[in-house]
């Protein structure tokens, strides 16, 4: 299973895809950090899809994501790609806020 967590939520303000590699440290940390981030934002506003490249390498290839963990910010536009375990939450919040405010 590809770990689709909450993609069905319609009309979310923020839509992201998190690419992780199984239970690798940085991937685990990235999941936790993203969950914390959702708590900081309004829960309904953030739609998260988690793709485990160990289970689904083809999807990673389709999206040209080879380095994990990586976060694709699909909405708001323009799409942004963030590499790393998302430790730096201020940067992330800034990315959401900045582009979400227009």
């Amino acid at each position: 299973m590809t770990g689709t967590v909450a993609e069905s939520r319609s009309r979310s303000r923020y839509v992201v895809r998190l690419f992780v590699a199984g239970d690798a440290h940085n991937s685990r940390i990235a999941r936790e950090n993203l969950n914390q981030l959702r708590d900081l934002l309004n829960d309904t506003e953030l739609s998260i899809q988690v793709i485990d490249v160990e289970e689904n390498p083809q999807l990673a290839i389709e999206h040209s994501i080879y380095v994990t963990p990586a976060l694709q910010i699909v909405e708001p536009k323009p799409p942004t790609l963030v590499y790393g375990n998302l430790r730096d939450k201020e940067t992330l919040l800034a990315l959401f806020e900045k582009s979400g405010n227009y």
């Binding site: 992780v20 160990e54 390498p57 990673a60 080879y66 990586a70 790609l81 963030v82």
Partner: protein, 482 residues
């Protein structure tokens, strides 16, 4: 220098490791068979030394042979690799289509944002999937340093590389990793530990000497195997990499063969029948002494016998040469028409010696001539230096002798003296026969003279002979002792 004598003596080849061929021209010869199977080989070198291309070439050549491989690059975009490959006539798309090659460009997108640490776990999963999908045995990891540098933590970089190395080993994959090495002050020293991890390490570099750029390659280590220990110059051509190593295979020449007429019957009489097959003859003389006329006489005779002659021409355009030879009655046009004669005309300064050598070797491989003319070797100095000319000629003559090709060289000498001064490029060890030509002024008129000053292992005239260039070729007169 590129032609150290160590290899000429022929070191013992030994190997306790299983190898796979790289299929790159000349490289397997240096590696005594190929790179170690199931181990990591490192291609190390400064920027622009050709590491990535050489690694790609190994995969492409193997893929063309039907053996699948995966190329992962952390530095190049796939379309850039594609355009390099196009330059060599390799159709990457077709190889991918056929399931013989997979390319993963895991380059960090420059407009992306870093927010915390990352690792190689994901790429390894994707790599594993690609390897399984095409059944690859060999994988190239190109420039992982470009990627890991973003970690900005030397300890972590090392740990990731070590992890990668262990993963490759555990997967029983044959791998090539390219990595930057120390270059002009820039320090990549913290990657030196990779030299210890890898079982086989190649250093690539390029240097400019006498305004000529030469690419060189050296095997630094090869665990469990012997290897060519020199620095080998190599060239990159429109068909990929060519390395023409002087190795222990060299100087295993065929014995000199039977005589073939020089095309000048009177000259044949002076040297026991003519030039010997597999031998190398030098015709040396000042300007206008008739060197090319002697060469053309031989070309005409040999091609009329149905033998192929390759003419490497450094002096003038081949059509000028052909029309000049009409006046002494030597019509080379029929030989050109029947394809028995082929010219390769090049300006010596137009390319480096490796490129000249590759051009000649390719022509020899394609045309398979019985005879080779080099006109004139004195022009080879213009390839860069006397040493460059020596290197070029030694390796060219060496190849001719191995293939049993009769080589005839002309040389423009600085002096008209019939002396031991031959070329200034000391090739005497590989030259079997030397004919000197000169013009002597006698009573206000010039007279042509020739002498055979060396003819290895055979009887020959020791006299100076007058000769004439007539409307019907060369005519040689009675000799006198000088």
């Amino acid at each position: 220098m590129g032609t150290s004598h160590e290899d000429l003596r022929g070191p013992v080849r030994h190997s306790s490791v299983e190898k796979i061929q790289t299929l790159v021209e000349g490289l397997d010869e240096i590696l005594h068979g190929g790179i170690p199977k199931g181990s990591m080989t490192l291609f190390s070198g400064g920027p622009g030394t050709g590491k990535t291309m050489l690694a790609l070439e190994v995969l492409v050549r193997r893929a063309i042979d039907g053996i699948p491989g995966v190329f992962v690059t952390f530095e190049e975009r796939e379309k850039d690799l594609q355009s390099y490959a196009d330059g060599f006539g390799w159709d990457l798309a077709a190889l991918k289509e056929a399931g013989k090659l997979a390319i993963i460009s895991a380059r960090i997108q420059p407009d992306s944002i870093l927010a915390g640490e990352f690792d190689l776990r994901g790429i390894l999963s994707i790599l594993r999937a690609q390897i399984t999908s095409i059944g690859a045995q060999c994988v190239v990891i190109d420039a992982p340093d470009a990627f890991l540098r973003l970690l900005d933590d030397i300890g972590r970089e090392r740990a990731e590389l070590q992890l990668l190395h262990e993963w490759l080993r555990d997967s029983d994959l044959t791998s090539i990793m390219t990595v930057k090495s120390k270059h002009e002050g820039a320090s990549y020293l913290h990657y030196e530990f990779l030299d210890y991890l890898a079982d086989c390490v190649l250093y690539l570099d390029q240097r400019v000497v006498d305004q000529v750029t030469t690419r060189r390659l050296r095997v630094v280590k090869y665990r469990g195997s012997s290897y060519g220990r020199n620095e080998y110059p190599f060239g990159i051509t429109d068909q990929g990499t060519w390395i023409i190593p002087v190795t222990q295979a060299s100087l295993k020449h065929r014995a000199l063969g039977k005589a073939i007429s020089s095309g000048v019957p009177a000259l044949d009489a002076l040297m026991a029948g003519g030039y010997r097959r597999s031998s190398c003859t030098l015709i040396s003389g000042g300007s206008g002494t008739g060197k090319t006329t002697f060469a053309a006489s031989f070309v005409l005779h040999a091609t009329e016998q149905g033998e192929r002659v390759l003419y490497l021409d450094f002096e003038e355009s081949w059509d000028a040469l052909v029309s000049c030879m009409l006046s002494p009655g030597l019509d080379l046009r029929p030989a050109l028409e029947t394809g028995m004669l082929r010219f390769v005309s090049t300006m010596p300064e137009s390319q480096g010696i490796e490129e000249h050598l590759i051009q000649a070797f390719r022509a020899i491989a394609e045309f398979q001539p019985q005879h080779l003319i080099v006109d004139a070797i004195s022009a080879c100095r213009r390839m860069g230096s006397a040493h460059a000319a020596f290197d070029y000629l030694l390796r060219l003559i060496d190849r001719s002798k191995q293939l049993g090709i009769t080589a005839l060289l002309t040389n423009l000498s600085a002096t008209d003296q019939l002396s031991q001064e031959i070329t200034g490029i000391d090739l005497s060890s590989v030259i079997d026969t030397v004919i000197l030509l000169r013009n002597v002024e006698i009573a206000g008129a010039y007279r042509r003279e020739m002498a055979i000053i060396k003819s290895r292992g055979r009887d020959h005239s020791h006299h100076v002979h007058p000769f004439q260039i007539t409307g019907n070729g060369i005519a040689i007169g009675e000799g006198r002792a000088e």
